[in-house]
């Protein structure tokens, strides 16, 4: 199992080191510095040095390293490192950094003692940890005997993710269906890869221990219901068109065995926000945009670029904050850009023409053309990185996934207000080769 956890910055300064097992000595830090930090080249995240294995993940300016001498479960190690980061985000906010770690080192040690014992990960639910490990200013005075007892039960409990006895006067559930598009389009416009990675994020303010049941327009489920007779399905409402979900994974609160037997998603949710499920759809995916790139190298010193973007979604919808990044050769001197809509400028730091359109209406065609002038002489190979798009389209899903119902059963709750939102997002993962 894990013999030690090390936080070290890229200059080799140790922020935190916690050794759990005696099979390593402090000298492993030097080994890491010499063999990994000094090597500089970004190699793979596992490094074996004379019987010691380092599994590491970079976060901002520092590394979190798990050290072991054994044939450890590697997937567990990396999942655990990711969990550490999640926990820290829960404690110190999204943007925690070296300094946060340094100033809160005693809290960090306390956490590192609690979430892992003798190299085995233990309780890692931030909500539960916060019950008995708190930041300085939030520290409570002595807890009563009863409440302490409750903590220990929860830390090891079956429903470790929810506290008992919550009470809200107004019961609300917000469901966000967020789809991240990972599209890869060839320069001839062919979709080489169209993967939709969706998340169902739930934010709830519910009293007691509510049993929730979520219904989606999942083809397998609907086929099961209708006994295979698809003719009976009414296609009047868009949400009832069944879709094929390739695979779905759930938060640990979802009863997996129940999903396996009858495809129903039932769970007792944690309080507040959590990712209930993530899914993947690759078949019959709707494409929100069509991009036609024309990139021609004219002579040795000019590149002509013309990019046309066509939105394919309904004209009632629009995409927010669309950004099209068009790469240019590394020896670009200047770009003469013409476009009717949006703002466009050349960003020398990322070697791209950055074209941003605040509001991209559905069924619209926009284009940009540019003359890229290169610095003469330095003739190096241009690898032609792909064009990448950022956008957010509210009320649109690429997969066609819809929430059919959400049932909440809890005797103390009489009325629940439910909200559902759909979002289709690309953060540079919609790529078009040129």
């Amino acid at each position: 199992m894990i013999s030690g956890i090390l936080f070290i910055n890229e200059l080799g300064k140790v922020l935190i080191s916690r050794i759990y097992r005696q099979d390593i000595t402090i000298s492993f830090i030097d080994q890491f510095k010499i063999k990994v930090l000094a090597a500089k080249k970004t190699t793979n995240p596992i490094k074996h040095v004379e019987g010691t294995t380092f599994c590491f993940r970079r976060i901002g300016s520092f590394f979190i390293v798990a050290v072991t001498k054994k044939n450890i479960n590697a997937a567990l190690v990396f999942e655990f490192l990711n969990t550490i980061i999640e926990i820290f985000k829960g404690y110190f906010g999204e943007k925690f950094n070296e300094n946060t770690i340094r100033t809160n080192f005693s809290l960090v040690y306390e956490l590192l003692d609690e979430i892992i014992d003798f190299g085995y990960p233990q309780t890692t639910e931030t909500d539960i940890l916060k019950l008995y490990i708190t930041r300085e200013n939030q520290r409570q005075t002595k807890k009563s005997k009863e409440s302490v007892k409750q903590i220990s039960i929860k830390a090891t409990g079956v429903i470790g993710w929810r506290q008992e006895g919550l009470k809200y006067s107004r019961n609300e559930v917000f469901l966000d269906i967020v789809e991240n598009l990972h599209f890869l389009v060839s320069n001839s416009g062919k979709f080489l890869k169209s993967d939709v990675f969706g998340e169902i994020i739930m934010k709830s303010r519910l009293s007691g221990m509510p049993d929730c049941k979520l219904g989606l327009n999942d083809k397998v489920l609907l086929d099961k219901r209708s006994g295979g007779k698809r003719t009976k399905m009414k296609n009047t409402r868009g949400g009832n068109t069944p879709i094929v979900i390739d695979d779905v994974t759930f938060h640990q609160c979802v009863k997996l065995s129940k999903f396996d037997t009858d495809r129903s998603i039932s769970f007792v949710p944690p309080d507040g926000e959590f990712q209930c499920a993530s899914y993947r759809v690759t078949e019959n995916v709707k494409k929100p945009f069509k991009v036609i790139p024309i990139v021609k190298e004219r002579g040795a010193i000019t590149v002509d670029v013309k990019v046309t973007v066509i939105s394919l979604f309904s004209e009632n919808l629009f995409a927010k904050n669309t950004v099209v990044r068009i790469p240019t050769p590394p020896n670009t001197a200047e770009c003469v850009i013409t476009t009717q809509t949006g703002k466009a400028k050349y960003d020398p730091q990322i070697n791209c023409i950055v074209w941003s359109i605040k509001r991209f209406q559905g069924k619209e065609e926009l284009s940009l053309s540019a003359e890229v002038n290169l610095i003469r002489g330095k003739q190096s190979v241009w690898s032609r990185p792909p064009i990448s798009l950022d956008f957010t389209i509210p009320s649109y899903t690429s997969s066609g996934l819809r929430v059919r119902y959400l049932k909440v059963v809890e005797k103390s709750i009489t009325e629940v207000v439910k909200w559902v939102r759909y979002l289709c997002v690309s953060k540079g993962t919609f790529q078009v080769r040129i």
Binding site: D30, F80, Y120, Q122, V148, L192, S383, G428, T429
Partner: protein, 904 residues
């Protein structure tokens, strides 16, 4: 120093004070110092006093301090036992657990003794939090004192916890038992019918990590029959929808294990179908997890090639994937290639081949070649793509294409030779060994079809002496082939190569192979032609990289490091018991290891057999090298992961293996004892030993530093005075801090800088004056540079060059020296000794009673130096004649040679 002492003093005051908040602040500061490696052990007693605090946070800090320093102060540690025992009875379960957890981590015998009683109580505590902590504490204790655990009956207590109602208690108990199993002489725990259902129930409710421990334990179980295997798999399958990749992969492992008990093809088919989407979904994780997943998917696909049929698109690389992910994706894409998807894959590969990351690009070019070999119908298209890549004129692309084309020729002989012309036009710069030998192979193989083959080969032969052995071997073979194809044009060329290889080469492989050819050609050229130009076996494209036994072992180890490195665990984990599978029913552990070793031996034998088989096939004799080379490459590649740094050595070792004289003629890095240059007395506790060494074409100053004081030493620096050779250290003496009684090695590259040469007409000296600084103090010392470290690797002259150079220097300049009282006058040994120091053998002749040897060497400041050694075997003496353009260093060199010859 004094500032630090002040700080410690102040902390001490605060710790012993009455003010609680000051106390806490001080404890925090102490722990902060501890983290950054400052020694605060002197505050031990004061910190201990703070242990009785009510403040839980402060208690935790004190415990943290204890865990680090208790082992240095066993006698004082005993003082805390009482507080621990009190805490272990505290009414707050968090405090009870904390006490047990910490006590288990303090590795002091005296403390351990007192741990048993509270531990036993905690194992039976009402509170699950205390119980789960106590369960792991048993494993901690076992690591320290196995006998104690057994005699105290803790194992029975652990076994009892498996039936606990709390899943976390169960999983921690399982983890502890597995841990004990892995070290104990015989297993203390096996899954049986009784506890199996308990474990399965616990899995349903457990948190993510507990699920992993439980699944990993389950994988060691062998179902009694097919039905049980099926029902187990049914229970595990839902786990594959878990968000945590470790749960998914551990499920995959368990399912794959249990599947071996199931015979029904139909049932297995449904399991594949259920597993495939989960495997693919693993790619939505962050890159590090993806990497582990990809390495594992690779193994699964090797075993079940059709499992991911139709999912190839998922493995397409994204431009911003990290290279290590791209490389693994590409590997899987190659395995998934088939008739249906090859078109799409080739287009992808071509795009990859135009990226900028050299290793990735090379692999992409390889992928095109492998597709060609695997799918005959696609070969024509592959070649089209390869040809268009050549046009790119990027040299590493072209080089890789050459290698790939060679393999295509070996798979489809006489089919695609039309492209040779294009290939030959673009071989401007081949510097990579493999692509060079590939090109030479192609020229030799198709010498009759390439119009100017003798010209091409001749251009390669010009640098024959400087080539890598692999290239030399290939050159030899190809020249012979050329001769057999076009005897009239190449007789002279062949004569040259054969005589160089037999007379001047020290590589026995090359020499022997040249002799074989020579004799074959002189005995019966027709037979020689039949053998050398005979038909060769075709190479095969296959998905399976590993022997099935190894593959099974690796699959059993999903998703451990073993499955990521693709190596069995015993290869990289030291002192570990081999992971035994239940069904082997081994009672005695020693037997187990023996068995596994036997199996490994068998496997080795099998491999050897395979090699000999190839060997026996005379037709393939000529190409044997390239095949065995591939094997070797694979070996090296596997080793490379472990000993990345030592790859150089491995290559040397490989050469050693080929060497008929064993270690004799190869160059070795002998570990020469270092000389004391700064003793502890003079250096005020800092001792430094050092030696100058030459490796990888540069000079290094190898040092080992020892701190003999009680305080850490830091701030190291090292400077050389100007010296006769211009050596100047380029780097730090030592980075960081040297802890008390610690010894660390350091190696500083010392390049020669002309600006650093001391110009004093009279005196040339091999002494170097150096100043060593530590913590702003400076010590002066000196060391000798052995002359041989100045001799460069390229000091070997050819015979004719030597002769010319020798004549160019007038006789008067020759310096003579007699070396007597040699212990050894065997010319082979002399040659070996000198070549080891980069003084290269040129030629040898006999004259009357004397044996005369010629050597050459090169130094950066004096150019080439020529030596003549006349050995008199009767008197065990040598007359040494030295000729050099720059005679300044000759005296020093003569002494050095005498020293080298008298060594050992």
């Amino acid at each position: 120093m004094s500032k630090q002492r002040d700080e410690l003093h102040e902390l001490r005051l605060k710790l012993s004070g009455e003010n609680a908040s000051h106390q806490k602040e001080a404890v925090k500061q102490v722990v902060a110092y501890m983290t950054v490696g400052k020694d605060v052990s002197s505050l031990f007693t004061e910190v201990l006093k703070c242990m009785t605090t009510e403040d839980l946070e402060m208690k935790k800090l004190v415990y943290l301090y204890l865990m680090t320093y208790a082992k240095f102060k066993p006698d004082l540690s005993i003082l805390v036992v009482n507080s621990f025992i009190q805490d272990a009875k505290d009414e707050n379960p968090l405090v009870r657990a904390l006490a047990i957890r910490t006590m288990g981590s303090i590795r002091v015998e005296e403390v351990t003794e007192y741990l048993c009683q509270p531990l036993r109580r905690c194992l039976k505590d009402d509170d699950p939090y205390v119980k789960k902590t106590a369960a792991l504490c048993v494993a901690k204790l076992f690591e320290m004192d196995p006998e104690l655990i057994e005699s105290q009956g803790f194992i029975e207590d652990l076994l009892a916890l498996i039936t606990d109602s709390n899943s976390m208690v169960v999983s921690n108990a399982l983890a502890a038992l597995q841990e004990i199993n892995s070290v104990a002489s015989k297993p203390v725990f096996v899954i049986d019918k009784k506890n199996l259902s308990k474990i399965l129930n616990a899995m349903g409710e457990a948190n993510e990590w507990s699920q992993v421990f439980i699944l990993d334990t389950l994988s060691t179980y062998t179902p009694r029959n097919e039905r049980e295997a099926e029902s187990l798999i049914e229970r595990i399958i839902p786990r594959m929808s878990h968000k945590n990749a470790a749960v998914v992969l551990s499920s995959v492992r368990a399912i794959l294990q249990f599947m071996s008990n199931i015979k029904s093809k139909k049932v297995l088919e449904t399991y594949y179908r259920k597993m495939a989407p989960s495997l693919v979904s693993l790619l939505t994780n962050p890159p590090e997890v993806q990497y582990v997943a990809l390495k594992n998917i690779n193994l699964v696909v090797q075993k079940y090639p059709t499992i991911l049929k139709g999912s190839h698109k998922v493995f397409f690389c994204r431009y911003n994937d990290p290279t290590y992910v791209k490389m693994e994706k590409l590997e899987i894409l190659i395995m998934l290639a088939n008739e249906d998807n090859v078109e799409a894959l080739l287009k992808e590969f071509k795009v990859y081949a135009q990226e900028v990351d050299v290793t990735f690009v090379r692999k992409a070019v390889r992928a095109i070649g492998l597709a060609a070999i695997k799918i005959p119908s696609a070969t024509q298209r592959c070649i089209k793509h390869l040809l268009s890549l050549i046009k790119s004129q990027i040299h590493y692309v072209t080089q890789e294409v050459v290698v790939v084309v060679k393999d295509i020729f070996r798979k489809y002989p006489n089919k695609y030779e039309s492209i040779i012309g294009t290939l030959c036009n673009s071989l401007t710069t081949l510097d990579d060994i493999e692509s060079k030998s590939s090109m030479i192979w192609i020229i030799g193989q198709y010498a009759d079809r390439i119009e100017n083959s003798e010209e091409l080969l001749e251009s390669f032969l010009e640098t024959f002496d400087e080539e890598n052995p692999e290239v030399q071997l290939q050159l030899l073979t190809s020249t012979v082939k050329l001769f057999l194809h076009k005897p009239e044009d190449s007789q002279e060329l062949l004569q040259d190569v054969l005589s160089t290889a037999t007379q001047e080469s020290e590589n026995p492989d090359l020499r022997e192979r040249a002799y074989i050819y020579w004799r074959m050609l002189s005995t019966d050229p027709d037979v020689a032609k039949e053998i050398i130009l005979g038909e060769k076996p075709l190479i095969e494209g296959t998905n399976r990289k590993y022997h099935i036994d190894l593959l099974e072992t690796l699959l059993f180890n999903i998703p451990s490091l073993s499955s990521v490195f693709h190596k069995p665990p015993e290869n990289f984990v030291t002192n570990v018991k081999v992971f035994l599978r239940e069904d082997e029913e081994i009672e005695n552990d020693e037997e187990g290891i023996l068995q596994v070793e036997e199996e490994r031996e068998k496997e080795q034998e099998k491999q050897q057999e395979e090699t000999t088989n190839t060997n026996q096939n005379i037709g393939s004799l000529i190409d044997f090298n390239s095949e065995s080379k591939q094997q070797q490459n694979q070996n090296t590649q596997q080793q490379r992961t472990t000993h990345v740094v030592q790859s150089q050595d491995i290559r040397q070792n490989n050469n050693v293996n080929q060497d008929e004289y064993g270690m004799g003629l190869s160059k070795m890095n002998v570990d020469i004892p270092k000389k004391l240059i700064l003793d502890a007395e003079k250096g005020e506790g800092l001792e430094i030993k050092g030696i100058f060494q030459r490796r990888e074409n540069s000079i290094f100053y190898e040092l080992s530093l020892t701190n003999k004081t009680q305080a850490p030493i830091g701030g190291f620096a090292c400077v050389f005075n100007t010296n006769s050779f211009g050596l100047k250290p380029n780097g730090w003496l030592l980075d960081g801090v040297l802890m008390p009684m610690q010894t660390r090695g350091s190696s500083i590259p010392c390049p020669i800088e002309t600006s650093h040469i001391k110009h004093q007409n009279d005196q040339i000296s091999n002494l170097i004056q150096l100043a060593i600084g530590k913590d702003s103090q400076v010590y002066y010392c000196q060391d000798e540079v052995p002359f041989h470290v100045l001799c460069t690797e390229d000091g070997k002259l050819g015979r004719s060059e030597f002769l010319k150079a020798w004549k160019d220097i007038p006789d008067e300049v020759e310096s003579l020296k007699e070396i007597t009282d040699l212990t050894e006058s065997n010319s082979n040994i002399i040659k070996l000794k000198l070549e080891n120091k980069n003084i290269f053998f040129v030629a040898k002749r006999k004259a009357d009673e004397l044996e005369i040897m010629y050597f050459s060497l090169k130094t950066e400041m004096a150019g080439f130096v020529l030596l003549e050694l006349a050995i008199d075997h009767n008197s065990n003496s040598i007359q040494l004649a030295t000729r050099a353009n720059n005679i300044d260093f000759v005296g020093m060199l003569e002494l050095e040679i005498e020293k080298i010859l008298k060594e050992y």
